[in-house]
Amino acid sequence: MLERVKSIRDALTRTRQAAFGRVATLLGATEITPEFWDELEALLIQADLGVETTADILEKAKAHVKREGIIRTDALKSVLKAELRAMLVTAEPLDLTTDDLRVVLIVGTNGSGKTTSIAKLAAWFKGQGRSVLLAAADTFRAAAGDQLDVWADRAGVPVIGGQPGSDPGAIVYDALQAAQSRKVNVVLIDTAGRLHTKFNLMQELKKVRNVTAKAAAGAPHETWLVLDGTTGQNALAQAQQFKAAVEVTGVIITKLDGTAKGGMVFAVSHQLQLPIRFIATGEKLGDIALFDAAAFVDGLFE
């Protein structure tokens, strides 16, 4: 377990060093000059924070500098940290003790990493002493069900699926029936990837959600959007549309083991008031960790 945490730390350190490490260097003990602001802007934008968020952060930082008479860049560090942290919505911790069934619907665009993330989540919940069942409701993408089967096998959790092309709603229904009779703690529902701009596919997703709601009391208890960490400004549009369609309650950021910085989480979390739940970093079952906003922001300045 410790090993896993360490590997995620290592992976994220790479991200930090690539982007925010430079912010830290920039924030060494020097005086604040006009060039400093330019460079800070460049770094934030290159971390995918986006034009608007970057401008917002810079403006706030400048206001602090003026109000508090800050003249050295190292003193700015805590100010920037606080502002960035304030943008990330804090979530109620997940209830990992209840005996009631908890259903999590996983949604996202094609290739964002839903299936892999579900496998990792299954392993994570299992590690927390929860019993888990997977619903393979992506019946569209070729062999998506097979992919989940392989992962379920590795994680040692049961999976309920159906024929390719069959109705995802029916699979969800079956899975929730099974979960209730087997007294399972957590059901994770894998859905087909879809671009948020596809009206029909978003309608279909709403239907899947409705079936979920009818098949178990209070379900889905959580709906998590899987966002590809290498995505740029489109992440906000994705989150907006998915939230509007299926009431997304949280976000999972994937692929943060490369050099991408995932800076769009700030705008997504802040503007849509969505907490980031997990960070996923690699191709192994253990490559997932609860998102810790404070640590994430602290890490930017290590």
């Binding site: 790479r14 094609n110 290498t230």
Partner: protein
């Protein structure tokens, strides 16, 4: 936010006179807006900087012409420079002896496997015998995914499960292609991080063994600032020959394409534009340039309209609209003209600011709705078309029977038609709300 760059620039240049030269100060002020638009479109920060420097050199001192105002002038230069940066569409290199090898590389989830299948279909349609090779032995069921797609599309797939090393599988695939006279081999490799040395070395090995004509980077149109680093690294390690941009059917602006083009210099070959296996389009630099600038694709729309619209008919209809004499017959003709322009979803994409309407309007329902409207009007007598007011219960029942619809459908059309007439009166008095409601369906 930057959906209308032209409008923003017009604001910036409003105070300028219509004549004279563009001064440095004018240009700089305009380019500030361009910079924001490019950054919002995910063009890499450094690439934007270099790009604007080139535009600046070209724009300062330019004579403001009679035809274009300063804003348009700057847009024109920006647009031209974007086109230069994006380059022209390059065909696949299928020169030399067959089998030709096309190797697809990229990050996890960029769409390699789907693209491999689409590419095979495309190659077959131009007379090739493609063979797909399943060389992703890492992602669970990636091999099964390609096999399933191959079966669906009736394209043969060479696979050896996940027990063998990918370079060996590729080598065997190529051997099979030679023996069985396949003309093109498409290698579907595993997704990998550009910084993963071992995995990149594997790609180098595959390249060395198969000597591909093309090494294409498959890149997600939604990628952010990191696109540059990924592309640079792939290019450095395996020598890319082209780019395929995927998920272009979303609403991402696709600035990553400029970034990748700038740092690698390789041409963009195709764009993936949908879930269906034929949804692979040859790259159109002008379309992408307009999209990156958030200007929609009015050029294509205007061209299409010019090709397909009967100018006289259109003028007559417009005249009637202004005079509010527009009847069902005119409406039918308008519908038929609009239909000639292609699917509604495509049209919405091309009109600046209307792309977002796709979230409110279901294009497929809209098309079904158009068909229903046509059927209803076709079931009316000429007299009824000219004077819809004469439609009573009996006539409506007859029309519903004739068009395979219900009286409610007929009533709804009439209601919407009257709404539209009202709208037209507003249009002619300068106020309008657009066609959104008309196509909202049920």
């Amino acid at each position: 936010m930057f959906d209308n760059l032209t409008g923003k620039l017009q604001e910036v240049f409003k105070k300028l006179s219509k004549r004279g030269k563009l001064s440095e100060a004018d240009v700089d002020e305009g380019l500030r807006e361009v910079r924001l638009a490019l950054l919002e479109a995910d063009v890499n920060f450094k690439v934007v900087k270099e790009f604007l420097a080139r535009v600046r050199v070209r724009a300062v001192g330019v004579e403001v012409s009679e035809a274009l105002n300063p804003a348009q002038q700057v847009i024109k230069i920006v647009h031209e420079e974007l086109l230069t940066t994006l380059g022209t569409a390059a065909p696949l290199d299928l020169s030399g002896p067959s089998p030709h090898v096309i190797m697809l590389v990229g990050l996890q989830g960029s769409g390699k496997t789907t693209t491999a299948a689409k590419l095979a279909v495309r190659l077959r349609s131009i007379g090739n015998r493609p063979l797909l090779v399943a060389a992703d032995t890492y992602r669970p069921a990636a091999v099964a995914q390609l096999e399933t797609l191959g079966k669906q599309l009736n394209v043969p797939v060479h696979s050896e499960g996940v027990g063998k090393a990918p370079p060996e599988i590729c080598s065997n695939g190529l051997k099979k292609a030679r023996e069985q006279a396949y003309s093109v081999v498409v290698l579907d490799t595993a997704g990998r991080l550009a910084i993963d040395d071992q995995m990149m070395a594997e790609l180098e090995a595959i390249k060395q063994i198969t000597k591909p004509n093309e090494v294409l980077l498959v890149s997600d149109a939604m990628t952010g600032q990191d696109a540059v680093r990924t592309a640079e690294e792939f290019h450095r390690r395996v020598g890319l020959t082209g780019l395929i941009l995927t998920k272009v059917d979303g609403d991402a602006r696709g600035g990553a394409a400029i970034s990748i083009r700038s740092v690698t210099g390789v041409p963009i070959k195709f764009m993936g534009i949908g879930e269906k296996t034929d949804a692979l389009e040859v790259f159109h630099p002008d379309r992408l340039a307009s999209r990156i600038l958030g200007m929609g694709d009015m050029l294509t729309l205007i061209e299409k309209a010019q090709e397909n619209f009967d100018q006289d008919e259109a003028a007559k209809a417009a005249q009637k609209m202004m005079e509010a004499r527009f009847d069902m017959e005119d409406f039918l003709q308008q519908l038929q003209q609009v239909k000639k322009l292609g699917p509604i979803s495509g049209l919405l994409d091309m009109i600046p600011g209307l792309g977002g309407m796709k979230q409110q309007v279901d294009p497929q329902q809209a098309e079904a709705q158009m068909k229903r409207i046509e059927a209803i009007i076709n079931s009316m007598t000429p007299d009824e078309r000219h004077r819809p007011d004469i439609l009573n219960g009996g006539r409506k029942r007859r029309i519903a029977r004739g068009s395979g619809t219900t009286v409610q459908d007929v009533n709804q059309l009439l209601r919407e038609f009257r709404e539209m007439q009202k709208m037209m009166k507003q249009f002619s008095s300068g106020k309008g709300r657009g066609l959104a409601n008309m196509f909202r369906g049920h």
